[in-house]
């Protein structure tokens, strides 16, 4: 299906990017595909501008806080002011991380690159559902995800699976081989320690081959055994707060996972499993479906899935090639906008359209909560859902409308909402919405109508 450059540039910036800033659609018009391809780069995604310490430093701060809390508890009161203040400071750091992330999204010239990074951050979800994971989720994205999003999938998988944030979020750090030296030592002291299969299961089900790949409970348990020892250095150990392999906690012996045998190899045993998982055609298919579903349609075109899958398998999981295949596939450019924006996408595209840079977590967080997408807090390891039926609930539309009106009143200034609409949607702006904006009683009303219009709510 041939579409003209005006429509194609609007789609490039709004569907594959994060929504149009003033002048962005015009900049993409000459060659929309090349405009997006130019955003792919081997060094990965952009980094949000924070002075964030590393995950290790954050985790060490958390452990110091825990010790302080424990000490306060022993003298009677865990809720002393210094302890509460320490918890508050840890939470504030997470807020700083989130604001830096939305400011990057609201301002970047490389919207596709950022959307691609956000897709992978959601694929490898770490949720701030506990204080400890809240302290490291920002650094996790910066250290484990963003550098690898245009590299090989296997590297991204290993970086994510060995990062302290993931090891904490899915309970891997404490998993101990039942026949390891550490378990035997604990048993002599009368203490029962053993496997925790949470991360092993989710790597197979969510991150790589997918639940339909034909593996069994026994495969999950075997993989969990192979992963024992993948942990985090203690406060008094070298490299405190960083990944470490604990040989003493590793389950000795060979493992068999999905019909393949893995000889004992310490830390390398789980790496060998991950290498095979990353190379599996099941993984290629699982990832292709997810990419097509995120970028194009909840019910993705099978021909697009097949193209992405082939690109993945032909290059042994080279994600830059997969990204380029997405951009150059005709199905990506279907004139119908099939995706309903998530709250994050809606807010980011609104800020971009209005040329506003968000400032304050205290203003952003309640809005994200009310729209059902609490900052950094996906409801499960599966990440945020994609389906329009989830996000277009009646209550959510009311919340978006309330926010749009309040935002428009502050953001519009003395600008013409019709011009903002033309810049934000280009050829995707329908005559009906353009006419309705032109007839608005006030400038804020005009901008509210744009933000709530069917074409702005979709991409």
């Amino acid at each position: 299906m041939a579409i003209d450059h005006d429509l194609k540039s609007a789609i490039a910036v709004t569907r594959l990017g994060l929504g149009a800033k003033d002048g962005e659609i015009a900049a993409a018009r000459n060659d929309p595909e090349a405009y997006l391809i130019a955003q792919i780069r081997p060094e990965g995604a952009d980094q949000p501008q924070t002075n964030a310490p590393t995950a290790a430093e954050r985790f060490n701060e958390f452990r110091a806080y825990q010790q302080e809390r424990q000490a306060a508890k022993q003298v009677g009161d865990a809720k002393t002011d210094p302890v509460k203040m320490a918890a508050r400071m840890l939470r504030d750091d997470t807020g700083v991380d989130f604001v830096a992330r939305v400011r990057l999204a609201a301002s970047t010239d490389a919207g596709f690159r950022e959307r691609w990074a956000l897709f992978w951050a959601n694929h490898f979800t770490v949720s701030a559902n506990k204080l400890v994971t809240a302290t490291v989720v920002g650094p996790f994205e910066q250290e484990a995800i963003r550098p690898h999003v245009f590299g090989r999938f296997e590297d991204l998988l290993v970086a994510s699976s060995s990062h302290p944030a993931m090891l904490l979020y899915l309970d891997q750090a404490q998993s101990i081989g039942p026949n390891s030296m550490a378990a035997q030592f604990q048993a002599r002291a009368g203490k029962h320690v053993g496997l925790n299969e949470n991360l092993a299961r989710e790597i197979m089900e969510l991150h790589t081959v997918g639940v339909d790949a034909g593996y069994s409970q026994a495969d999950v348990t075997e993989f969990a055994r192979a992963m024992t020892g993948w942990s985090i250095s203690g406060l008094r150990e070298p490299d405190a707060g960083r990944f470490t392999f604990r040989d003493r906690a590793h389950e000795p012996g060979a493992r068999t996972i999905m019909g393949r045998r893995y000889a004992e190899g310490g830390e390398g045993q789980a790496r060998a499993v991950m290498k095979d998982l990353a190379a599996s055609p099941h993984t290629a298919h699982h990832l292709a479906v997810k990419i097509a579903r995120h970028f194009v349609a909840d019910d993705p075109p099978p021909t697009l899935v097949a193209r992405l899958q082939r690109a993945y398998l032909d290059t042994n999981g080279q994600l830059s090639v997969v990204a380029k295949t997405l951009i150059t596939s005709p199905e990506t450019w279907n004139p119908t906008a099939a995706k309903f924006k998530t709250p994050y996408e809606f807010l980011v595209s609104s800020w971009r359209a209005a040329g506003v840079l968000p400032q304050d977590i205290a203003a952003i967080a309640p809005v994200m909560n009310a729209m059902g997408q609490k900052a950094f807090s996906a409801p499960s390891p599966k990440g945020w859902p994609e389906e329009k039926e989830v996000w277009c609930a009646p209550d959510a539309v009311i919340k978006r409308m309330g926010w749009s009106e309040a935002f428009a009143a502050k953001a519009v200034g003395d600008r013409d909402p019709a011009q903002i609409a033309a810049n934000a949607l280009g050829a995707r702006l329908s005559p009906l919405v353009a006419k309705t904006i032109a007839r608005a009683e006030t400038r804020p009303e005009g901008l509210s109508i744009l933000l709530m219009s069917p074409e702005f709510q979709r991409r």
């Binding site: 029962h192 299969e197 949470n198 639940v211 909560n369 609930a393 959510a396 009311i398 409308m401 309040a406």
Partner: protein, 433 residues
């Protein structure tokens, strides 16, 4: 908007409900009985029924929710996370010689003592993959296999109850849960509304959405719910004597945080949902999700992270039951989870994904009785795959029993439409009076 404004808008319906409630408190069950009978005769029996389905996400540990402390193997399997026995410090709240409720479930236990709460200790969906996402899909879609249908069984049950709009439904929370998605339009609500919005804007958007199959119905439903919410929120605030402007006038930029974790908020949320369900022409069916039950590590026992979540559930149920007032006698609440957890404590003082778990049924419409379904025991030979509580009841059978006996949905529709291909799964008998 002031308290007086809201009171003016809502005086008549609220007064009558409140009189009934206070009357019920003063005179015991006679008034409640007369009230509900008289109403039922004039309005038709189905119109009086209320059904609430609560989905606990993450795999709720049934062996902690309703610990079988009298089972010979329980404490050995559970080790440090075992709930102590009846009468011990932090011990289970006794239901029968085998089962208790978790000590954080005090309000639920008080209902159980009255015969208004029962446990279903070994129930499971037909899915056996131990995947959260598959199991939640099967639990909510009502299909026998994963991704078998894209609508939810509760929505199809509404369809089976009569023409669209006859029985109205609502979900609590800003996103729409699968269980209530489908052809019948359902409302959704969460705290913080659009009270500040210029009334022009919804009208303009309504025109823009006229041919939009997604946004059009969503906006219309959302606006209708806002009108009810004004009454509901004010109602609860008044009964708690702590209404503030921000609770009602919470639109625009001052959106109230949703679903805070505290117990007073949980109770208030339950009471607010009740107020939606007791308004004239109110919602008869509600779906609620509560997450945070995936306790792989440091699950705790009488206290700890799971105890906190259960206390939240208990407070929500307490708020709901009290708020429903006389309607509680016509209510069934079903609380279910996607799967249970391993019978044995794992290596990190938690539990991994398992199979059968406990469901709760509550409400004044229950039939009095003991546990629903059989208890397979925790004897090693009886564990499913030497690992999990073995299922003795298909979750669909539980739902089908409630829909048939409480909401009057006929068996043929349950077997084919609501739970496709489930003719072999009998509705559970004797749950509803």
């Amino acid at each position: 908007m002031t308290r007086e404004d809201i009171a003016c808008q809502a005086t008549l319906p609220r007064l009558s409900r409140r009189q009934a409630m206070w009357g019920g408190l003063g005179l015991g069950i006679t008034v409640q009985f007369m009230g509900s009978r008289a109403y039922a005769d004039s309005q038709g029996a189905l119109a009086q029924k209320r059904l609430v389905v609560i989905v606990c996400r993450g795999g709720l540990d049934g062996l902690s929710l309703s610990p079988p402390v009298g089972d010979a193997n329980y404490s050995a399997l559970r080790g440090a996370i075992a709930i102590p026995g009846f009468g011990e410090a932090g011990g289970a709240l006794k239901l029968d010689d085998t089962f208790g409720l978790h000590p954080a479930m005090g309000a639920t236990h008080a209902l159980a003592v009255k015969g208004q709460a029962r446990i279903v200790p070994a129930v499971a969906t037909p899915d056996r993959e131990r995947s959260h996402f598959e199991a939640q899909d099967v639990l909510e879609s009502g299909a026998s296999v994963v991704y078998g249908t894209s609508s939810g069984w509760l929505n199809r049950a509404l369809e089976a109850m009569g023409p669209a709009g006859k029985v109205k439904a609502i979900s609590v929370g800003p996103t729409a849960p699968l269980i209530l998605r489908g052809p019948i339009e359902a409302a959704s609500w969460s705290p913080g509304g659009a009270a500040g919005v210029d009334p022009r804007l919804p009208g303009i958007l309504g025109d823009l959405y006229a041919h939009d199959p997604l946004l059009g119905p969503a906006l219309a439903s959302g606006m209708a719910t806002q009108a009810m919410a004004k009454i509901a929120v004010a109602d609860v605030a008044q009964s708690e004597g702590m209404m503030t402007d921000s609770q009602v006038n919470a639109g625009g930029v001052t959106l109230a945080p949703v679903l805070r974790q505290g117990l007073p908020q949980a109770r208030k949320l339950g009471a607010t949902l009740a107020a939606f369900m007791t308004q004239p022409d109110g919602k008869q069916v509600a779906a609620v999700s509560i997450d945070g039950f995936d306790t792989h590590a440091n699950q705790g026992a009488a206290q700890g992270q799971l105890a906190l979540r259960l206390a939240y559930v208990d407070a929500f149920l307490d708020g709901l039951a009290s708020g429903l007032g006389p309607s509680w006698n016509n209510t069934v609440v079903v609380l279910a989870t996607e799967f249970g957890r391993t019978a044995r404590v794992n290596g990190t003082a938690g539990t991994d994904h398992g199979t059968a778990s406990t469901a709760l049924v509550l409400g004044g419409a229950l039939k009095k009785g003991g546990i629903v379904g059989d208890w397979p025991t925790l004897a090693q030979a009886r564990l499913f795959e030497n690992r999990d509580t073995a299922p003795t009841l298909d979750m669909r059978g539980l739902f089908k029993g409630v829909l048939r006996d409480h909401m009057g949905v006929e068996r043929a529709k349950l077997d084919t439409q609501v739970f496709p291909g489930s003719a072999g799964v009998a509705p559970a008998d004797g749950v509803v009076a």
